[in-house]
Amino acid sequence: MNSITSVESIRVPPEPTRSRGVWVTAWRRLKSDRVGVVSLAIVVAFALLVLLSFVGLVAGDWQKEVAVPDAPPTFMGPQAVQTGTDPLANVVSKDAKPVDLTDIDPLAPKYEEWKARAAKIQIADTPRADTLPFGADRLGRDVLDKAIKGAEVSIFVGLFAALLATVIGTILGALSGYIGGKVGDFLEWVYNVFTSIPDILLIFAFAAVLGRGITTVILILGLVGWTGMYRLVRAEYIKHHNREYVRAAEAIGTSHLSRMFVHILPNVSHVVLVRMSLYVVGFIKAEVILSFLGLGVPVDQVSWGTMLSEAQAELVLGHWWQLAAATIFMATFVTAFSLFTDALRDALDPKLR
């Protein structure tokens, strides 16, 4: 009888170059997707920018007043305010000679002395730029630097809050959908409690307990936002739990954990990824609202959110460039990120080629 043991003797040298993992194949597929590559490049560029600003190589001195207040972008030329707005210009005649008061001025003898003393004091009056490529805010800070520094905070908050919400939502959803029964009922109850409270109230509650800071914003958004992911993942797990391939995995003796996270999770990963990209987008926007309400990032830091809320007051005066800078940065990143997760989802799906 030619048993399997004799089959063992047919040694086939494994070819490590050919056994490509999921990620290698995914990368290969991603490379052929033009939209995916472009969006990946943009996301990577943003990541680099965030990294550089984090170590202080870029936008490190964003708080310096490098330009005149509300300096417009370069292409608009210097502010028109500089000329012809002196309120006394028409009152004082330019031809009139200054009246000599030396005789009756008791301080007259001191003038020379003061002049000499004043000459000794060095005033380093840094030249303020009239214009900047992206303009300046009302304190004369470079809007471009602010946007870059703001990207650091906003992307950090968006990504980590999304990650937190995804992890909580996926694990609870998987448990609830896979195990079901009493555990499922309990998690459904938790879910219902969380969703029955208005989000903003929940955010206030967490903010009151946790105090202010970037970590708090991440925690708040993550703890409030996981419910949507939970719902989706739970539904997917209920669907996949009885699929034949999971049955087949049970038949060969895999553990529950392996079935939940090795077998089913990759098959529902597209749902998780798409939802997560929506989270990133949503949380970046939520951070804006939180900052606006005074619950977001501290005042000594800047995010796209704080920039947008500052822009509100400036817009009335016609200073639109801070709003534009924050919007362009945010829109570019958010769009690129969504397109990238979309491409990633396609690349990870072996059925789509």
Partner: protein, 576 residues
């Protein structure tokens, strides 16, 4: 059939391709021609992917959006060219002159409307009937397709009807406007044997009564023989052979037709190996293989597996404190002897799958014992069970669903080895996986591919290889070949038999297809509504079924072409 009879449909040089992606085009139908004469039944027969459904759907122009019909193609229906017809003309033809019955009645009917409403919709679109007349017509139609108590059933929702009744409703909708042509696309494939027979008889009856033409699409040549006047055999988008049914069954000219006729397991002979398409295409000596009879291992020693009083109940809540008990399996006791095959037959809902699942503890049994070499598996803890888990393995019905789409074949094959610590290192396991893939007839390359890159038959081979990786003693084949084409079925059955000889495995072969069970099984159980109604030696049961239900099942087996059926053997003999 004389030539003077007018052709209702004539298809000439039909080319259909599908656009896949930007630059890829797949040719599905490559220049086929056939006619459907008035008042007759034409069968399109072929394996999946042969283009038979695409050809039929081209007649009603119900092709997917990415389909391209070749410029030289011509389809004439009743003298009109369908391909150049406008949308409104087509709508008038569809439903009125040509109607279609699909394979899956469960998905073809809209679950949120009553059957009466759905039939009424067709009638309203194509006739002027209203009010009472409309209602009467609906009841008349339901009556005609043999639905009991049609007056009460008008207001029933699709889920309240059985699969067979749903298909009857579909047929009622199809014949509502008395079409000239009825296209039936595998109308009985999703149904049980006994229901399949009834539906076939219904279609045949309606055809003669309304003097309409039927285009019957099927992968099963045997089935077609009972109903068709003309047969068109298709393969890979071309017509291999076409002609009157006597000629196709009596004196097939094409090697492929011969192969299709012979590769299906038959009730009268039990060859060691089923002939497969390749044998014929390569023109090997078929008859020799066919007539060599198979010897099964005698029943000896103690049974390997002993099931005693297995019972499965499901409790359905019907109220706050009330519940209803549904008995999926009432009482199942049987013995499995090493190296033999136990066939389990029954219609859907008979509990045959549940029995297999309970043996493996994939479904917890309500009551009963399963002794494996004297150990009661059902009382073991999960940890103790691990040791036995690999001894009993299962191959599921649907090879498309039973493999994890995110795993490569290599991962699928090495995972069970990892779990059961077979093989010392990952590398050793990998080479074992390659050897297994080779053993079940796959390329060495296949271990790097994903399941979706394989055809149904190949996937079933992967599933078989996964089971083999654990060197099981018992293999449960749960409808394992039911989803496969007849010709692919033969190759998988041959593989299973080879493996049984090679490794001395014991099989439980669960199927609704009696011919397949007859071919594979040594012993047999017949199940009906959760109970085993007949048991014993398979050959004996087939020769003389004792139970009434078994007799009913046996009568429902498609007998194939009713004419010179004996000539099949003559055909095999003439090959030498």
């Amino acid at each position: 059939m004389s030539d003077s009879i007018r052709n209702l449909v004539s298809v000439r040089d039909l080319h259909v391709s599908f656009r896949l992606g930007k630059h890829k085009i797949a040719e599905a139908v490559r220049g086929i021609s056939f006619d459907v004469p008035e008042n007759s039944t034409v069968a399109l027969v072929g394996e999946s992917g042969s283009g038979k459904s695409v050809s039929a759907m081209a007649i009603v122009q119900l092709l997917p959006e990415n389909a391209i019909v070749g410029p030289t193609s011509r389809i004439e229906f009743d003298g009109r060219n369908v391909l150049t017809a406008s949308d409104s003309e087509l709508r008038a033809i569809r439903g009125n002159d040509i109607s279609v019955v699909f394979q899956e009645p469960m998905t073809s009917l809209n679950p949120v409307f009553t059957v009466g409403w759905q039939i009424a919709e067709v009638l309203k679109l194509h006739t002027d009937l209203t009010g009472r007349a409309l209602n009467d017509r609906i009841i008349q139609l339901l009556n005609e397709v043999g639905i009991p108590e049609p007056k009460a059933r008008v207001d029933a929702y699709p889920h309240e009807l059985s699969g067979g009744q749903q298909q009857r409703v579909m047929i009622a909708m199809a014949i509502a406007c008395e079409p000239k042509l009825l296209i039936a696309d595998e109308p009985t494939t999703a149904l049980d044997v006994t229901v399949q027979r009834q539906i076939l008889e219904l279609i045949a009856g309606l055809q003669t009564k309304h003097r309409m033409s039927v285009l019957f699409i099927s992968h099963d040549l045997g089935l077609v023989g009972e109903i068709a006047d003309h047969v068109v055999v298709m393969r890979e988008g071309t017509v291999r052979e076409s002609g009157p049914v006597d000629q196709i069954f009596g004196a097939p000219q094409d090697a492929y037709t011969k192969a299709l006729l012979l590769c299906r397991p038959r009730l009268d002979v039990k060859p060691r190996r089923l002939p497969v398409i390749d044998d014929f295409m390569r023109n090997q000596g078929v008859a020799q293989i066919v007539l060599q009879s198979r010897q099964s291992r005698p029943q000896e020693g103690t049974p390997l597996v002993e099931a005693k009083g297995l019972r499965k109940e499901y409790r359905l809540k019907t109220g706050l404190f009330e519940h209803k008990t549904i008995e999926a399996v009432k009482e199942a006791s049987f013995n499995l002897y090493p190296g033999r095959t136990l066939g389990v037959v029954g219609e859907s809902g008979s509990g045959k799958t549940t029995v297999g699942m309970m043996l493996m503890r994939l479904t917890p049994a309500t009551k009963g014992q399963v002794f494996y070499n004297g150990v009661d598996l059902l009382t073991l803890s999960d940890r103790q069970m691990m040791e036995y888990r690999r001894k009993i393995q299962i191959i599921f019905q649907n090879p498309y669903a039973s493999l994890n789409p995110r795993f490569t074949v290599g991962q699928i094959l090495t995972e069970p080895m990892k779990i059961h610590s077979i093989g010392a290192s990952d590398q050793e396991r990998f080479s074992l996986a390659v050897a297994l893939a080779r053993r079940v007839g796959l390329d060495d390359d296949s271990v790097h591919k994903y399941p979706h890159e394989f055809s149904g038959g190949q996937r079933q081979r992967i599933a078989i290889a996964r089971c083999l990786s654990m060197k099981p003693d018992v293999l449960i084949c749960d409808e394992s070949v039911s989803a496969l084409d007849v010709s692919v079925q033969a190759t998988v059955l041959n593989l299973l038999l080879d493996l049984q000889d090679e490794f001395g495995m014991t099989y439980i072969f669960i199927s609704h297809d009696l011919a397949v069970v007859k071919y594979m099984a040594d012993d047999m159980l017949v199940m009906n509504q959760g109970a085993i109604v007949e048991r014993g030696n398979a050959d004996a049961i087939y020769a003389a079924p004792q139970n009434e239900y078994t007799q009913k099942l046996m009568n429902a087996i498609p007998r194939g072409y009713a004419g010179p059926s004996a000539s099949l053997q003559a055909l095999a003999a003439s090959e030498t």
